[in-house]
């Protein structure tokens, strides 16, 4: 028996071999999880813009808690959830907040580049143009992300650039808010938030005429723009300000021994000059659960700390206010005080108090110094637990603004019968962390 050459089989085998050889290639393209260029397409834009808000939400609640501890909007209980250095009033950060705030900033700004056809890729720009409201929302998120950086951090560094004053973030915030205003529909919530956000950035920059002009665009005292949080999704969607002191099981902070809670026997309302430590019971802007329960944690000063949780953020899905009409009125009031108009400023403040149902009114004939103290207190109440108090303190200290602060939010002894704040120092801004200084080639070391 010999070997029979099967030409048909040989041809098919040869064909298959040729196909196999042709399919061999030394170049492999790994598409990865999602190609970057897909994010330039119209179908991705809504998700991109939603992601900008989520990135900001991921870090704002943590920043609000840290700044609240330093500003004594809340008092630490001694639980390790708030680092010891922050409990005592200083801030040494390994970089987590800085990193995630910059992620929020970059996600928004990079997303805007994609929406406006400026993404640095070889692909052609998208054929469609984004819906102006969507683009306005993107600019709004970028504005708030930059405002957060500018208000909390002592210095700025952007995209691995050189270190700059923190005002660099605020100037970017102004630009983004301006773009939000220009793109949003007239009178829409996004446009109002653009004006309100820009007004607050101008305040931080000391540009008061511009601030007041923008504040006037938000006529409704009851208007507010909130950053949403969600209960039911992943934990990073939750409001950590609530979660960290909800007793589930964390009781990291309390409102006990802060200017915002009852202070021993000083519960009676007092409008005399100098009695700014008292508060009006049942101020709806300061929901707190005062109770006879310990936190389970201790501090050197005081043993077990009483646990009086805030209830302004009363759920894992509680939103955080970014801007409000009431804040705009307080900007206007502060501008009046800068021009020594006590009556005008306190009239605004008293109107805000009446708006929320408070019956006691500040005496409008007090001194300028007293009026400043009142404004500082009212602004603290209005912006309580929104990551805004610390930048206010920083601004007033830097400008040597008159008007006493509550001793419970300062370093040093308090007048009896009050406790001291238990602050051993007070950082008024967050220093840029070590990992930026080490990795950034333009940091100067």
């Amino acid at each position: 028996m010999g070997f029979v050459l099967n030409r048909r089989r040989l041809r098919s085998t040869g064909f298959l071999a040729m196909v196999s050889l042709l399919s061999l290639s030394c170049e492999i393209t790994n598409p990865g999880r999602l190609q970057d260029v897909f994010l330039n397409r119209e179908e991705a834009w809504e998700g991109l813009v939603n992601g900008m808000g989520r990135s900001l939400a991921d870090v704002l609640d943590e920043d609000a808690l840290r700044s609240a501890v330093l500003a004594r909007e809340v008092h630490p209980t001694g639980s390790g959830q708030i680092p010891i250095d922050q409990q005592l009033g200083t801030f040494h950060e390994y970089g987590a907040d800085w990193r995630y705030e910059h992620r929020a900033r970059w996600v928004a700004e990079d997303g805007i580049r994609r929406l406006t056809g400026q993404a640095p890729h070889d692909d052609p720009p998208p054929e469609a143009t984004p819906d102006p409201e969507l683009l306005a929302q993107a600019y709004l998120w970028a504005g708030y992300a930059n405002r957060l950086l500018g208000e909390l951090w002592c210095e700025a560094a952007i995209d691995a650039g050189e270190f700059l004053p923190s005002s660099a973030f605020l100037e970017r915030a102004v630009d983004h808010f301006t773009s939000a205003i220009d793109n949003a529909a007239s009178g829409s919530d996004v446009q109002l938030a653009g004006y309100a956000g820009r007004a607050s950035a101008y305040v931080d920059l000391g540009e008061w005429e511009s601030a007041v002009a923008d504040a006037g665009q938000v006529a409704d005292d009851h208007w507010a723009y909130e950053l949403p949080y969600y209960f039911g999704y992943s934990t990073w969607e939750w409001n950590d300000l609530y979660w960290s002191s909800a007793g589930l099981p964390a009781k990291a902070h309390t409102v006990w021994n802060t200017p915002y809670a009852p202070q021993g026997d000083s519960e009676e309302w007092a409008s005399d000059e100098g009695s700014y430590y008292a508060f009006e019971p049942n101020d709806p802007r300061l929901p707190i659960r005062v109770q006879n329960e310990g936190s389970g944690a201790r501090m050197d000063c005081c043993g077990e700390i009483p646990w009086w949780p805030q209830t302004k953020h009363d759920d894992r899905g509680a939103n955080i206010e970014l801007s409000s009409g009431a804040e705009m009125r307080l900007i206007e009031a502060e501008y009046l005080l800068l021009n020594s108009d006590v009556m005008g400023a306190l009239t605004i403040i008293n109107n805000l108090r009446a708006d929320v149902g408070l019956t006691t009114q500040w005496d409008t004939s007090v001194s300028l110094d007293s009026a400043w103290a009142i404004l500082k207190r009212e602004r603290g109440i209005e912006l309580w637990l929104e990551a805004r108090r610390l930048p206010d303190l920083r601004r007033w200290v830097a400008n040597d603004t008159p008007g006493a602060l509550d001793p419970l939010e300062m370093v040093g002894a308090a007048a009896p019968p009050h406790h001291p704040s238990h602050l051993e120092a007070q950082a008024l801004c967050f220093p840029v962390p070590e990992d930026e200084r080490v990795t950034n080639p333009n940091s100067g070391g």
Binding site: G80, I84, L88, A96, R99, R103, A157, V438, N440
Partner: protein, 332 residues
Amino acid sequence: ERTAEIELGFEAALLGNRAAVNFTYYYQKTSDALFRVNQVPSSGYPGSRLTNVGQIDNRGIELASNAVVLAGRNLGWDLGFTVYTNHSRVLSLGGAPEFFIWPGAGNIANPDTLPNGEVEYYSVPEITWDCVIASPTDSTIQYYTSTVTGQPTIGADCHHGPNLPTTTLGFNTTIRLPKGIELSARGEFHGGHFILDLASWNALRRGVQWPFCFEAYEAIDAGQAEQVSTWLQSACIRANVPQTGIGTFIYPADFFKVREMSLRIPVTPIIPGSETATLMLSARNAIRWVNADFPLLDPEMMGNSGMLTPVRYMTEHIPQAATFSASLRVLF
């Protein structure tokens, strides 16, 4: 990354096969080593990224030897020992800045050229943090047994050393006695490395009274803190405890443990009806030596991630416990 390795070694039987030696020397050089390099945070990327970075090398020896010291009919003695060494170095980061593989402490650092021209290489990773030094003009790192007193001087970016042992020594021995009694022991030494004590740091920065500070508290409470060592002042006075990180609480972690000691005694005659019966008494990790600069707890403690962490540290995970057991095995 590409790794080139050379190994040289030999095996030998000596003294009429009563002793055996196995020796290997290795040298390994990795180019374009893959590390998780921290990105610049202000660039918007919050994490680290696998990056081919520079060159590292590892070298060491592996030596194992076993010997039958005595081989009598009623008496026998076996003895064995092992020596493992591993020394890693960062040769170059290829122009990349040094970076941490673990927040703050596990440093991958470029070599430094010293004033005398010598090059100092750092291990992979190098435990680096601020620390107590001898004085403003003497950067010698101080540890628990330091006798330097006065005002503490804090040095920046102190290079302590590697986080993993560079030298591991082991021994094992078995002695066979008449009547089938057997005594065995096995021990191990780990040395050359440093460990982070987050447990003590977390306690002391919360103001907890801590055992290795007891000797210092009396002087501190009497306002005579400068009479205790600068290291103890830095660790035990709450205001001095570094809030920025573990700083002071990095120790040499050299230790020796007797992993097992056992005594095996045949007791068949005293167990009626048994074919064989053996009593075994053993102790594991019962004898321990730690170096004098390791003040508290155990160098085999771990953190929440156990060994799955770029840099080993001590927090909540207790080490292997010392155990004592007695067992009687009877075959009927």
